[in-house]
C-alpha cells in the first residue's frame, strides 16, 4: 500500500539525530535499513509523522576491536556482518545466523541494529544477541547508557529503548575459537523461523567448557536455554550428552516444544563438530 504522509529528516551526527527525535516528539521514528519499517508504513500499520534517516551516520557502521569484545555499529548491514573478519574470528555465530536472514537484497539494506530494535520474536538476531551476552549502547538526550540484551528485549516488538533514544553500538564479548551453529527451520527460504536455535560451544580436551544457547520464536522474545547450557558444562562433547541436555530446551509436548529440543540437539552437534 501507499504510506501516509511523513516528514523526512537526514541528520549528520548522532547528537543531531537525538535532538531531532526530541524535537519531533513521540510520533517520530528512526529509519535504518527500512526492511521492517517500510512494510509497516506501506500497510499503514503505523503512520509516524517524521522519519529520521540515520543512513548518513557513517560512525554507526562497521565493526571495531575493543579488547575483550567487539563493537558492532548499529548501522552495520547484514551483508557487512557476513563478510567482517572480526566477526568471523570472534563471533562466528553472528555470521552464521546472518547468513540465514532473508535474501541478498534485504541483507544489503537491513541492519544489525535495526533487527534488534525491531524486536520481532521471529527475527533471527535476537537469540544470538541474548545468548552471547551482547550489551546495547544507547544514545539519548541524557547521554549514553548501556543495557544488556537480557533486559533490552521486553516483549513482542518491544525493547527497553525509549522513544527519544537511538541504539548506536552493540558490544559483543569475544568468543574466539568457539564452535557455533544456527539451526533454523522455516518453510521457504524467505520465510521467518518457525523455531531456530543459536548455539556456541567451547570445547577443550573433549569436554564442553562452556555453552551458549538461544531460541528464536518460542515466546514473546528471544529465550536463553539456560538449563541446556548448564547441563552441558563439563560433559563430554558426545552425541549422548548433547541429546540429554537438549531435552531441557523445552518440556512441553507441542510442535514448537519438539522443535526446540530437536533443533537444539542439531545445533549443538554441529557446533561441537565445527
Amino acid at each position: 500500500m501507499i504510506p501516509a504522509e511523513f516528514k523526512y529528516l537526514f541528520p549528520s551526527s548522532v547528537d543531531e539525530a537525538v535532538r531531532m527525535l526530541a524535537e519531533e516528539g513521540e510520533d517520530a521514528k528512526i529509519i535504518a535499513g527500512g526492511q521492517s519499517l517500510v512494510p509497516v508504513l506501506r500497510m499503514r500499520l503505523a503512520a509516524p509523522t517524521a522519519l529520521i534517516d540515520i543512513g548518513g551516520l557513517t560512525e554507526l557502521t562497521g565493526v571495531r576491536d575493543d579488547g575483550d569484545s567487539l563493537l558492532i555499529g548499529a548501522m552495520t548491514t547484514h551483508y557487512e556482518v557476513q563478510r567482517d573478519h572480526l566477526i568471523q574470528d570472534h563471533a562466528l555465530l553472528l555470521r552464521l545466523v546472518t547468513d540465514t536472514v532473508a535474501d541478498p537484497q534485504v541483507r544489503h539494506r537491513g541492519t544489525f541494529g535495526g533487527s534488534l530494535c525491531h524486536a520481532d520474536p521471529a527475527g533471527d538476531l535476537l537469540a544470538p544477541a541474548l545468548a552471547l551476552d551482547a550489551v546495547m549502547i544507547i544514545a539519548g538526550p541524557g547521554g549514553r547508557r548501556e543495557v544488556p540484551a537480557a533486559e533490552f528485549f521486553v516483549d513482542y516488538f518491544e525493547t527497553a529503548l525509549r522513544p527519544d533514544e537511538i541504539l548506536i553500538d552493540v558490544r559483543v564479548p569475544k568468543y574466539t575459537g568457539w564452535g557455533a551453529h544456527y539451526e533454523k527451520l522455516n518453510r521457504v527460504a524467505q520465510a521467518w523461523s518457525i523455531v531456530a536455535v543459536a548455539a556456541a560451544v567451547q570445547v577443550s580436551g573433549g569436554k564442553i567448557a562452556a555453552a551458549r544457547v538461544g531460541l528464536t520464536n518460542v515466546g514473546s522474545g528471544p529465550v536463553r536455554a539456560a538449563d541446556v547450557e548448564s547441563a552441558l558444562i563439563g560433559q563430554p562433547a558426545s552425541a549422548e550428552a548433547i541429546s540429554a541436555a537438549a531435552l531441557k530446551a523445552s518440556s512441553g509436548d507441542g510442535y514448537k516444544d519438539n522443535l526446540a529440543r530437536v533443533l537444539t540437539d542439531r545445533a549443538l552437534m554441529a557446533a561441537v563438530a565445527g
Partner: protein
C-alpha cells in the same frame, strides 16, 4: 529476403519479448500516464458478512485532492451485475453481483466505496476518512455447514446451494452403472480429500486505466482476456461495443487470475464516464489477495471399486465446490472442467460425477492454472496409490494394468471424451529410467529398516489432461456462453516484412517468439522479420484470448491456416509473374520457382507485386493479407509420467524434494526452451499446492494470509533442480500436432509430491495428510494427532504464537 535454412519449429530460441519485459522498458498498465488523469482507491469491507447501515463520506470528500467519493448507492442504477458466462444448469442460482456493494457485503475485501483523487497517495489517505456502519451477519465459511442452510450467504436465494451438476456414464451411454460396479466389487475404497483454497499470485498486480476522451472508451487492463472483457463490459453497461476499445498491454502473469471481468474494471469505466476524465486504479499485493479471485477449494469424496487383481471397475466422485460469495465469469464451470478428468488414463467401466456448487462468505473462486483438472488429477492419482496399498501392489504396476494401451487410441472414455493419441508406456519407461526407480526403492527399504529419522518416499503421477479449449459445439453443450475458436491474420507488408495479428493474449507465455517461428517456417521469412500484434481490440479485432493451454493448439493452428492462405494466393500470383502453370510452381525457403527451370520469384517479389497491383491475374484483389479462424473439433490431451522422491524428516515434519523427474508428452514442440519454462513454472505451482500455499481464513472470515510473507509462494531456492524430458506423440486434432503445455506441470505435480510424502511415512501409521503438507501437519500426523485445520506455522509478522515453550 533471405531464407531461413534450419527449420524454426523445434528450435530453442530465446524469447524475443524478454528483454523489454524483464527490464520494464515497456508499457505495463500502471506505467500509463494521461493528462488530467484521476486515481481511484477502493475501500474494502473488513468484515465477511454484514448489512451496510450507513456510509459517511463527508470527511473524506473534503480531504485534499479528493474529486469525489462514491458508494454503491451512487452506481446502483448503472452498475448492473458482473457477468457470469457459465450457467452450468438451467436452474442454477446466481445472486446479483454488484461491482460496488450497495446494501450488503458478502466477503471481506468486497468493494464498498471509492475515492477518486488527483494522486494515488491522496486517494489512499482519504480511504481512512470514510466511516461505514456495518450490521454484522452470521458468517458462512465451511462447505458442509453451508449446505445445512442454517445461515445464508444470500438470504434472497433461500439456500447456499447454487447448482448440482451430474455426469453419469450409464445415463450418457459411455459406460455401465457405477452403483452396480461398487455393489459387486471385490474391493471398494472410499476417501475424502480437501483441495485447499489457493491464490493465483501473478507477479504484476492488476491495474486498469480508462480514457473516456475522443468519443470512445479506451481501456487498458492487466487482463488475459481483452476481447471477452470488451464484449462483457458492453453487455453490462450498455455502452456500444464499438465505442469500447480494450488494450491488454504487456501483462505480467495471470495463471487464470486475470481471466476475469473484475469489479474494478467496470468501476473505472463508470467513473471515467461520470467524471469525463481518465482514471487509473492499481492494486496493492494485499488488495489483490483480498479481492482477486481465488482457486481450488473443494471437498472431494471419491469411491473406487476394483477387482482383487487390481483392475479398476467403477469411480464415483461427489464434490463440494466453494464458489465464494459470487459467481464470477466462469466460477461455476471450473469444477465441471474436472468432471471429464477423474477417470484420467484408466479404463473404468463405470463413472459417476456429482458436483454441488456452494456459496460461502469468501472471495469468489474461479480459474486458476489447470482449473478443475488439477483437482481431478490429484484425486485419481491419490486413489490409485490407495488401491495399490490396499492390494499390496506396486503403484506403478497397478497404473500400468489399467491404463489405455498405445494401440487402443483413439479411445472413447467413460467420461465421454475421445482421446486422440497418447503413449503412456513410452513416457513411463523414460521416467522410470531417469528416476532409477528400482534403486530408489532399495534406498527406501534401507532407510526403513535402519529406522533413519529421514524417511524416503516415492510418488507417482501418470496424468493426462484436456486442453486446447475448445470445440465450440462442446462448450455450447456445456452451456458456456462463448465459443472456443481462435483467429489469426497475416499482413504482408510491401517491404516483405510480416505482421501477425493474433486473437490470443499472451501474458508471459512467449507467443511473439513462437508465432514468429511458425510463420518463419511456413513462409520462409527470417524470424526477425515477423512482428506479432496482440491484445488490442482495435488491431486484433476478434479473438477468444489465452487460458486453458489453448493458444498454440488453437491460435497457432489459425495462424498456420492464415499462412497457408497467403501462400496459396502468392503461388497463383507467382505463376502469373513467371508465366507458367500454377501446377509447375514450387515453393521452398521463401522462393517460388518453375519446376525444372531457373526462374525464381521470392515471396517478397510476389508480395510487392500484389501490393502495387500493376499486373494481377484476372479477378485477383490487391494485397497478400489473409485471415483464418480455427475451431478445433477436439480437445488435446497432453500426458506424462512424473516421479517424485521426497525426504521426510520425521523429527521436524519437514519435507524436502530430493528428485523430481517429469516426462511430458505435449505433442510437437515448437520451442523446447519455452516448453521447459512452462513445465518448470507449472511444477513450481503444483508443488506449491502440495507443500506450501494455502489461503487461510479465521473464524470471522478474515483472510489471514494476505501478504506474501504469510502466503508462501516458493522460489527457486525452495525447489529441486527438475529433470525434464519429453516423448512426442503428436495430437491428431491440429496440423501442428501440438497439445498445449501451460498447465501440465501444475496438474501433474501435486499428487506426485503428496503421494511421495505419504509413501515415506505410511509404514509409520500415517494414512493421510492434508495439503499443504507443512512440517507441523506432517509432524502431527506422525504423532497420530488430528491434522490442525488452522493456519500452518508460516512466518511473517503474524507468526508468533504463545504455545511454544521453554522449561
Amino acid at each position: 529476403m533471405t531464407a531461413t535454412a534450419e527449420p524454426e519449429v523445434g528450435k530453442a530460441r530465446l524469447r524475443k519479448e524478454d528483454a523489454r519485459l524483464i527490464t520494464g522498458q515497456t508499457k505495463w498498465t500502471d506505467n500509463i500516464q494521461l493528462t488530467g488523469m484521476l486515481h481511484m482507491a477502493v475501500l474494502r469491507s473488513p468484515v465477511a458478512h454484514a448489512r451496510i447501515r450507513d456510509i459517511d463520506c463527508s470527511r473524506a470528500t473534503t480531504m485534499p485532492g479528493v474529486a469525489v467519493v462514491l458508494t454503491g448507492e451512487d452506481f446502483a442504477a448503472e452498475q448492473g451485475s458482473l457477468p457470469c458466462a457459465w450457467p452450468i444448469t438451467e436452474d442454477m442460482k446466481a445472486p446479483p453481483a454488484p461491482a460496488l456493494a450497495v446494501d450488503q457485503v458478502n466477503f471481506a475485501g468486497e468493494a464498498v466505496a471509492l475515492v477518486i483523487a488527483d494522486s494515488a497517495y491522496r486517494a489512499a489517505d482519504a480511504l481512512a476518512a470514510i466511516d461505514v456502519d456495518y450490521d454484522e451477519l452470521p458468517v458462512v465459511l465451511d462447505l458442509e455447514e453451508a449446505l445445512r442452510d442454517n445461515d445464508l450467504v444470500h438470504p434472497d436465494l433461500g439456500t447456499n446451494k447454487s447448482a448440482t451438476w451430474i455426469y453419469d456414464s450409464a445415463e450418457a451411454g459411455s459406460g455401465t452403472n457405477v452403483e452396480d460396479e461398487i455393489a459387486s466389487a471385490e474391493v471398494v475404497i472410499e476417501r475424502t480429500f480437501r483441495q485447499q483454497r489457493l491464490i493465483p499470485a501473478f507477479m504484476e498486480p492488476r491495474s486498469v486505466v480508462v480514457d473516456p476522451s475522443a468519443d470512445m472508451f479506451t481501456i487498458w487492463s492487466a487482463t488475459q482476456i481483452p476481447h471477452i472483457l470488451r464484449w462483457m463490459l458492453a453487455a453490462v453497461t450498455g455502452i456500444a461495443e464499438h465505442k469500447i476499445r480494450v488494450i491488454a498491454p504487456d501483462v505480467g502473469g495471470g495463471f487464470g487470475g486475470k481471466l476475469q471481468v473484475t469489479p474494478e474494471e467496470l468501476l473505472c469505466l463508470l467513473v471515467a464516464r461520470r467524471m469525463g476524465r481518465p482514471v487509473k486504479w492499481t492494486e496493492t499485493r494485499t488488495e489483490s489477495m483480498l479481492s482477486a479471485h481465488h482457486g481450488r477449494d473443494q471437498i472431494q469424496k471419491v469411491t473406487l471399486s476394483a477387482r482383487r487383481d487390481g483392475t479398476v471397475t467403477g469411480l464415483k466422485v461427489e464434490l463440494l465446490a466453494d464458489m465464494g460469495a459470487y459467481l464470477r465469469l466462469v466460477t461455476p464451470g471450473i469444477p465441471i472442467l474436472g468432471a471429464f478428468m477423474f477417470n484420467a488414463i484408466y479404463k473404468f467401466a463405470a463413472y459417476r460425477f456429482v458436483c454441488t456448487n456452494v456459496f460461502t462468505n469468501k472471495v469468489p473462486t474461479d480459474a486458476y492454472r489447470g482449473a478443475g483438472r488439477p483437482e481431478a488429477t490429484f484425486a485419481i492419482e491419490r486413489m490409485m496409490d490407495e488401491l495399490a496399498v490396499e492390494l499390496g501392489m506396486d503403484p506403478m504396476k497397478i497404473r500400468e494394468m489399467n491404463w489405455i494401451k498405445h494401440e487402443e487410441f483413439p479411445f472413447n472414455t467413460v467420461a465421454g471424451l475421445t482421446y486422440d493419441s497418447g503413449n503412456y508406456e513410452a513416457a513411463t519407461a523414460r521416467a522410470m529410467e531417469l528416476f532409477d526407480y528400482e534403486s530408489m526403492r532399495e534406498e527406501q527399504q534401507r532407510r526403513r529398516s535402519s529406522g533413519d529419522p529421514v524417511q524416503l518416499g516415492i510418488g507417482i503421477s501418470t496424468y493426462t489432461e484436456m486442453c486446447g479449449l475448445a470445440p465450440s459445439r462442446v462448450l455450447g453443450a456445456l452451456r458456456y456462453a462463448a465459443g472456443g475458436w481462435e483467429t489469426a491474420s497475416i499482413r504482408m507488408l510491401p517491404t516483405g516484412k510480416v505482421e501477425v495479428i493474433t486473437g490470443t493474449s499472451p501474458h508471459g507465455q512467449g507467443h511473439e517468439t513462437v508465432w514468429s517461428q511458425i510463420v518463419a517456417d511456413r513462409l520462409g521469412v527470417p524470424f526477425e522479420d515477423v512482428e506479432v500484434l496482440h491484445g488490442d481490440t482495435a488491431s486484433s479485432h476478434k479473438g477468444m484470448d489465452s487460458y486453458g493451454s489453448r493458444s498454440l493448439a488453437v491460435g497457432g493452428t489459425a495462424l498456420v491456416h492464415a499462412a497457408d492462405k497467403v501462400l496459396a494466393k502468392a503461388r497463383t500470383l507467382a505463376a502469373h509473374m513467371m508465366e507458367c502453370d500454377e501446377a509447375d510452381v514450387e515453393f521452398a525457403s521463401g522462393s517460388f520457382s518453375v519446376r525444372g527451370t531457373s526462374t525464381v520469384r521470392t515471396l517478397g517479389d510476389v508480395v510487392l507485386a500484389a501490393h502495387v497491383a500493376h499486373d494481377l491475374p484476372e479477378g485477383m484483389e490487391p494485397g497478400m493479407d489473409a485471415d483464418a479462424t480455427f475451431d478445433p473439433d477436439n480437445f488435446s490431451f497432453p500426458h506424462g509420467t512424473h516421479l517424485c522422491a521426497a525426504e521426510v524428516d520425521t523429527q521436524t515434519g519437514m519435507v524436502k524434494i530430493r528428485l523430481y523427474v517429469a516426462v511430458d508428452d505435449v505433442g510437437t514442440v515448437v520451442n523446447p526452451l519455452i516448453v521447459d519454462g512452462q513445465v518448470h513454472g507449472g511444477l513450481a505451482q503444483g508443488i506449491a499446492q502440495a507443500l506450501f500455499e494455502e489461503a487461510v481464513h479465521d473464524e470471522m472470515g478474515t483472510l489471514t494470509t494476505a501478504t506474501l510473507a504469510d502466503y508462501l509462494v516458493p522460489s527457486a531456492a525452495d525447489l529441486p533442480g527438475f529433470i525434464t524430458a519429453r516423448t512426442s506423440t503428436p495430437a491428431t486434432s491440429n496440423p501442428l500436432g501440438a497439445k498445449g503445455v501451460g498447465e501440465a506441470g501444475t496438474i501433474a505435480s501435486t499428487p506426485a509430491v503428496v503421494n511421495a510424502v505419504l509413501d515415506a511415512v505410511r509404514h509409520m501409521g500415517v494414512r493421510d495428510i492434508e495439503m499443504p503438507c507443512s512440517p507441523e501437519r506432517v509432524w502431527n500426523a506422525l504423532q497420530g494427532r488430528a491434522a490442525d485445520a488452522s493456519a500452518p506455522a508460516a512466518g511473517g509478522l503474524g507468526s508468533i504464537d504463545a504455545q511454544g515453550g521453554q522449561s
